[in-house]
């Protein structure tokens, strides 16, 4: 009988996980570091809008014509809202949790994207990659030939010029009708 406890202990074995010597088992839904694929990102900023603690930010630099996507892991709460809203799957939560750093600057990740200039007035108005992505989607939805070229030309205009263009067209249509 005095060995009952000892037997029990031997039967149970060691409960301690051998981390950090052996990789730790993570559950399939584990939410770790948001992994950004800069090539797949269209700089639309949906993640920055969704991010509850503003760990994701978009900064526009009109002088250099770039828009900068930035994540600050020190502020991230690993909620996965960015993964939910990303239209191109550029960002997804990985199983990477070893994020401790000595230098705070290492907690930042940045990506620069070019802004497209309006073909009419030259104002920088949207990330160039976003526009090419929209064109690719139009093509995928079956728009081809002249219509695609026409829509592409409209897409390359800033919203103000597009509106002006619409008014000119409407006036012309009205005059025709009269």
């Amino acid at each position: 009988m005095p060995f009952k406890l000892l037997r029990e202990v031997l039967k149970v074995g060691e409960a301690t996980v051998p981390y950090p010597f052996v990789a730790v088992d993570l559950t399939p839904g584990f939410r770790g570091r948001p992994q950004h694929d800069p090539a797949q990102c269209i700089a639309c900023g949906a993640c920055a809008v969704a991010c509850p603690p503003n760990a994701l930010t978009m900064t526009t630099n009109l002088d250099e014509g770039i828009i900068t996507w930035q994540i600050f892991y020190g502020r991230c709460i690993y909620c996965g809202r960015c993964e939910e809203v990303c239209p191109t799957r550029a960002i997804s939560l990985s199983h990477d949790f070893e994020l401790a750093v000595m230098n705070k600057a290492d907690l930042y990740e940045q990506a620069d994207y070019r802004l497209a200039a309006c073909t009419r007035c030259g104002v920088l108005f949207a990330p160039a990659k976003e526009l090419t992505y929209v064109l690719a989607l139009l093509e995928q939805s079956g728009v081809t030939g002249d219509e695609l070229a026409e829509r592409g030309a409209l897409l390359a205009m800033c919203p103000t010029c597009r509106r002006k263009n619409d008014i000119v067209k409407l006036v012309a249509l009205n005059q025709e009708a009269v």
Binding site: A15, T16, Y73, A100, V101, M102, K104, G142
Partner: protein
Amino acid sequence: MVTDYKRRDTLMGETQYAIHMDDQTAALKGALLHDIRRSIFVYRVDCGGCNGCEIEIFAAITPIFDAERFGIKVVSSPRHADILLYTGSMTRSMRVPALRAYHAAPDPKVCVAYGACGSSGGIFHDLYCVWGGADQVIPIDAYIPGCPPTPPATIFGFAMALGILSQKLKATHHVEGEDERVQPRHPELPLDLRVDVERESRRMAGYWHGQQIADSFLNLLKAPASDIERNIQNFLAQKDDSRLTEIFGRLSEIYLMRKA
């Protein structure tokens, strides 16, 4: 050591604290990291957190993760501490207690910012009474981000702060390449079908799971038309989940409607 209890102006991303370390203390600190390898006393300073970080710190010293394997021990007084662990977003009222704990701990000491709040203020960073992280007040040596950091992340952070493991995360700066193109998702399928399936799936299962389910459904649609139904049946039989069957039934309806 000189302390000015008034907050200095802080610039975005730049840390200016009111503590100045002299050369001797700095030298001792270097020696500390080398000398205390197997006996590290940690004192937690909660500067306005939600207690999530505290729960994870205690999880890290339970038998499952057993931080005491490495000599890491949580002590109840800063006077015994080698490491000060600052959790919480550093509220206005907690800045003086935080400094008092800092001064109560004997030199040399290592200060660690723990959790998203300790590292930067976290989700509370723009609150009126929040100063945005322990590093606004105290000189911080290591940052352990996470909300809260899991016990393995905590152990990794300690191992890194003590120089046992090396840092893994590095700052990156990507610049858009010349012909960088985005791959549209499921380019083989019509766009409106994809959008409808994704929308319905998200409506039924929520954003994250809805997206996963829509993806597995759309992947099954890529097979030759004659195999699709059989593949879907096999997939559902393998998963054996009535909720998934329900959602797939609805998605199949959409697919057949679109096809017709």
